[in-house]
Symmetry: C2
Subunit: 200 residues, 2 copies
């Protein structure tokens, strides 16, 4: 009986529908939550510290790196983003499964620090379908869409260290698969469970 | 997208409730079935060939062993029991998940022949609880019950090659866990799925 939560590292190309699937799953079970990142960028209107992000100064962020308080971090443009270890660990200890929606590079960093994290890679049903989704969004030029598709191919080709993959051709089904993965991972054989039963 | 079924090797001490849990799960999903054993013992009243067992002659059984037509076999008293490979493979190819309820020795044999089989060990919530269940059955002497508990301890201590363990303290929950394990295993990362998507 494994009361501690699981850390779920979720990656996948932009447009694979990770957020939609996770939000669907969160609406169906209350023992899961998203990880909250720390960032040095300023809060936008409507963003609340500790809800969308933990907003910290650059000095504080650099201190967090030095003190190994981040499971991973990266810099985009001039801002830092990272995953505070303390938040994740507290949630896990309280039995919450923590979902970390993160790119492959960050996923590798986290997986090295938390080897029993559960790695899940989400895929669109096909690259043709992914292109259509990106076109339908209508927010990007054709060139930008092709660049995203090239990036998606690279990510997919690098995804071989993930334990699971979910083809998101149907949000409800993909959410159920993610949910099943979490439940199954709580059933992984562990020798402390065996020891407990032998002493019972 | 993994259309082929999974072979589920399910073991656990007598009294852990394997059959009850599997029957509950079978009532909730129609893509799973039990494996059917071949045996040399005679059919009992009400037993139907191809439903409870495949009833075969001793000569036929020995031929099946020689022709490697069995995933495992064992002898109890003067009768042979074994798992016909063809039945399992046909079901798997048709997308059915096949549940093989089998002791550890047989499980090892099958796991060697089918390395991508999913191994699940079912446990009672505690050995105290297991003793109570066996006493409540009222079918065995106190000595026989103690012998079963000793055997259960041995089995549990040997179970370290199973991938999953389910504590059966609640049939509905255990059935859901087994079901989640099957769904999660269908999401295991596989490079042919990746290849398919890269070509899509």
């Amino acid at each position: 009986m494994d009361r501690q939560g699981k850390l779920i590292i979720l990656s996948g190309p932009s447009g694979s529908g990770k957020s939609t699937v996770v939000f669907r799953m969160l609406s169906e079970r209350n023992d899961c939550c998203f990880s909250i990142s720390a960032t040095t960028r300023s809060a936008r209107e409507g963003e609340v510290d500790g809800r969308e992000y933990f907003f910290v100064t650059r000095e504080r962020f650099l201190q967090m790196i030095r003190d190994d308080e981040l499971l991973e971090h990266a810099q985009y443009v001039s801002n830092y983003y990272g995953t505070p270890r303390a938040f994740v660990e507290e949630k896990l200890q309280n039995g919450m499964n923590v979902i970390l929606d993160i790119e492959i590079q960050g996923a590798r960093q986290v997986f090295q620090k938390v080897p029993d994290a559960v790695t899940v890679f989400m895929l669109p049903p096909s690259l043709t379908e992914l292109r259509e989704r990106l076109v339908l969004r209508g927010t990007e030029t054709a060139d930008a869409i092709e660049a995203r598709l090239t990036r998606a191919r690279q990510e997919i080709a690098e995804a071989d260290f993930y334990r699971y993959m979910i083809f998101n051709d149907d949000v409800a089904r993909a959410a159920k698969e993610l949910s099943s993965i979490i439940d199954a991972e709580h059933c992984r054989f562990n020798s402390s469970g065996i020891q407990m039963i032998l002493e019972s």
